[in-house]
Subunit: 139 residues, 4 copies
Amino acid sequence: MAGMNADAINDFMGKAFPGSGGGVEQADPDRVVCRIRYDPSQLRPGGTLSGPTMMGLADRAMYALIFAAIGEVPLAVTTSLTINFLRKPKPADLIAECRMLKLGKTLAVGDVMIRSDGERQPCAHAVVTYSIPPKTLSP
Amino acid sequence: MAGMNADAINDFMGKAFPGSGGGVEQADPDRVVCRIRYDPSQLRPGGTLSGPTMMGLADRAMYALIFAAIGEVPLAVTTSLTINFLRKPKPADLIAECRMLKLGKTLAVGDVMIRSDGERQPCAHAVVTYSIPPKTLSP
Amino acid sequence: MAGMNADAINDFMGKAFPGSGGGVEQADPDRVVCRIRYDPSQLRPGGTLSGPTMMGLADRAMYALIFAAIGEVPLAVTTSLTINFLRKPKPADLIAECRMLKLGKTLAVGDVMIRSDGERQPCAHAVVTYSIPPKTLSP
Amino acid sequence: MAGMNADAINDFMGKAFPGSGGGVEQADPDRVVCRIRYDPSQLRPGGTLSGPTMMGLADRAMYALIFAAIGEVPLAVTTSLTINFLRKPKPADLIAECRMLKLGKTLAVGDVMIRSDGERQPCAHAVVTYSIPPKTLSP
């Protein structure tokens, strides 16, 4: 199965997760870049973007990377995620850069660096593992 | 500072996170139980409750546990979270049981078992670390 | 394949890892208890037992738990391990209690609580994932 | 306190951990490279280098990186470590490349890529967090 480009991944995600969209800006087989728009409603006490917002972004970036690498596998599921919150995000878009550490037949592992748009230092770093279903189960 | 009971924690969370609520059902200094209501809008492809929903629940359960142990520290922030997704959740409420592994002066570590309501086997397990700000910074 | 008892697991480990031994004291299909003897040569600056000693113990406890659950699978390999160091261990034996969180066909996940012998509070907590090879690959 | 170079770090480690040595080959304030020599006695069933060997290497590389960044802090201790084993290592030296993700006053977070010497693909990836003691406690 051929990998997908950013437009195709965003198209899929827009249908699968109405209202959230994909936000994929670059998509290569070993690296994707995703953006989520700054939304003041996601702020928590202290003015910080919520942890779950960043966890969801890391999770989605790795999902997109698997699509970029091997094509549409909607039933790929997260098996584990480890995130370290490093710095308070700025009131700005968040940019996630995800690279593939291992793409096996049944497991894929990637790491994700999350930065506020325009910043050099990361505000979070995650390692995400997905289970890839046997091809016969994919539509 | 004295620990808070479930009602007091839910009251705080309802104000701090309008629309999400607290869901704390039991609160002791070393263990809390939180519930989130089943909401079909959170389903992802395959009919599974989303990973971010469970990550947010684990994060919130540990936040509540810190309040239960030492009182209101709104500026406590997650420093790391590791979650393993173990089984597909049922179409039911999720129940998180969080216990304190370490409560230090500046760091608290807990683990969280997440089950579908009525099930014995967990659908996810998380370890969550919070940084606790010096008391003078808390309101 | 039938699960193994503590003696059988220790016998296997003594042959597979000469010089280290097994240290399995209890073995049930969903829980094992392992001990490592206190050895002053493992101390690091500050008089603390080394982190790698505890990581190795957590890893071995989960390996033993898989044997206790499904029998001898020497080629089971660790795919991930997350450990939180909680308290400075005492100058005493370390006791690891490992319980099964999920035993799937290809992945097993367990968590491990490590305590100094005689202490109630844990000095470390780990989550360990193993990949279980297809049975035809096992001797 | 000034950061240390590779020779100074190896000198410290050779005294602190007799018999294991430092193995630091490059040391900058935001990146170190460490090597451990291939030693057939560390093999486990299946001919693989043991997990604890790689966990110990990741832990040591982050310890060295803190020394490279801020100088000698022997009482810095690991607070958490997450490692993903990605590929079976070759029968060769292991090379760990550790970069700083965050250097705070009390916590430092880094990630470590471990490769077999001469290989491009990593055999393990780790995220390591250290607690840095207040300076008055350091010698």
